[in-house]
Symmetry: C2
């Protein structure tokens, strides 16, 4: 239909799936990918045999395990998550709050880990979720450490509003970014959910570059962040040490030494 | 070089990446995917702009965040993990052992979650890892509930040996599978690592089908599993209730209702 390469068409088939479109029929895939039914049929067949798609009992298609396997190889994805997880788990246990680890992808933050408590199901977030930088704790920290040109780009775009307290004024956001750089922590209250407070800090790699952000979201009881900034800063420092000392390196394209396969147990 | 479709070639580029090949140069991708340099260059360019690959500071390529996002949509992948996580976390906290949630993919089990303790770094496993069914707790449980034809297929293939205690005799394995079905639990000792014990139970969906397996790996102190089978059975029942009651459905191709996006916080 449109002038696309064969390679891009198979990626468009995968791109037909989304958070609100997890199980699709062949014709739904064709419509969403803007492909003919016969082309869709052929490409879905290739993806099925490769493992990128699965067919359910109801005949609809969904994302397959092969993509889970591949995503585990992403140095800024599950690879980073692997090294950071024990520290995130400690923070989750110590606070009972929702813990997020995010990396920047263009104008958004992508969560590579999201640990929720059973008691906070109404305040939810997931691995793979994307959020705008200006309204989230992780996003604001990542933006505070982005190149000035990237900051200009982000602030020149429409800034989504989630609550009456969401900050969408570019100049106010620039002042907030300066405070985040100065203090080493971002504290956001009611920016996405009225009664939630997010505390976020940068996670640096061995070279000192900010490559991820760590946030804790707790119910905002008006008492302020208290000791949470110091706690998160300590956890981020531990993650940095694990990244530096551990078997896995981080950052896009960094070589990652595989964990010794022979020692794994199932 | 070989007769492949354009769609399969782009999938072969992604398939060039693996646990021991997380960051590759263009020529390494070309060699591993058996493609010419010019074709590889073009396909890598398409994957870069789509987000399936990222280029690191050193010029090498690795798996990108787009695949993490996609894998989060897999109903048997991060979707299942999302629902099960709080229960897995409880088990992890209560026991200090390594917790795995696995699903069957052909002749292997794929981990959709793997929670490790900081103290057990020598006993490691990761999300996306594949293991043979016969030697792992999760695998044996999944095989015990597979179609008889699938069991025959698996047992007719070469069965890898990891330790002197790894069971590789098809008839002994059939007897073990019958015990697993009868008892509702698999206990494996020293099958992959000499001093480790795995206790595994089935996780059923709302229809009663076994769609995943839950395992706990602890150091084998020769005292046997004790109360662990009962504990794991209780945790599996809780996961089933969350799958049935919760916002997310499970099983290949099952429709999955997205968690309310508006309530998420970052």
């Amino acid at each position: 239909m449109t002038r696309r390469t064969a390679a891009s068409r198979v990626l468009d088939v995968l791109g037909a799936f989304g958070p609100d479109h997890r199980a699709l029929s062949l014709s739904e895939i064709a419509r969403r990918a803007e492909l003919s039914l016969s082309t869709t049929h052929r490409l879905v067949g290739e993806l099925l045999s490769w493992g990128g798609l699965e067919r359910g009992a109801d005949g609809r298609f969904s994302v397959g395990l092969r993509l889970l396997e591949l995503s585990a190889l992403a140095p800024r994805g599950l690879g980073l998550r692997e090294v950071a997880f024990p520290h995130l788990d400690d923070l989750h246990r110590a606070t009972g709050g929702n813990v997020h680890l995010g990396v920047r992808d263009g104008h958004e933050v992508v969560y590579v880990e999201a640990l929720r408590s059973r008691g906070t199901a109404q305040v939810s977030s997931r691995v793979g979720d994307r959020w705008p930088l200006h309204a989230t704790g992780t996003g604001l920290v990542l933006l505070a450490h982005a190149d000035p040109g990237d900051v200009d780009d982000v602030l020149a775009r429409p800034l989504a509003r989630y609550t009456a307290r969401t900050s969408t004024d570019p100049e106010a956001l620039r002042r907030h970014l300066a405070r985040v750089r100065r203090d080493g922590v971002a504290v956001l209250r009611g920016q996405i959910t009225d009664d939630a407070m997010a505390v976020a800090v940068p996670v640096r790699d061995r070279t000192g570059e900010v490559t991820a952000a760590l946030s804790l979201v707790v119910r905002d009881d008006e008492a302020g962040p208290g000791g949470l900034p110091a706690l998160l800063t300590a956890v981020a420092a531990r993650i940095r040490r694990s990244l530096t000392a551990g078997p896995t390196a981080m950052g896009a394209g960094a070589a990652v030494r595989p964990v010794e396969r022979a020692l794994r147990v199932g």
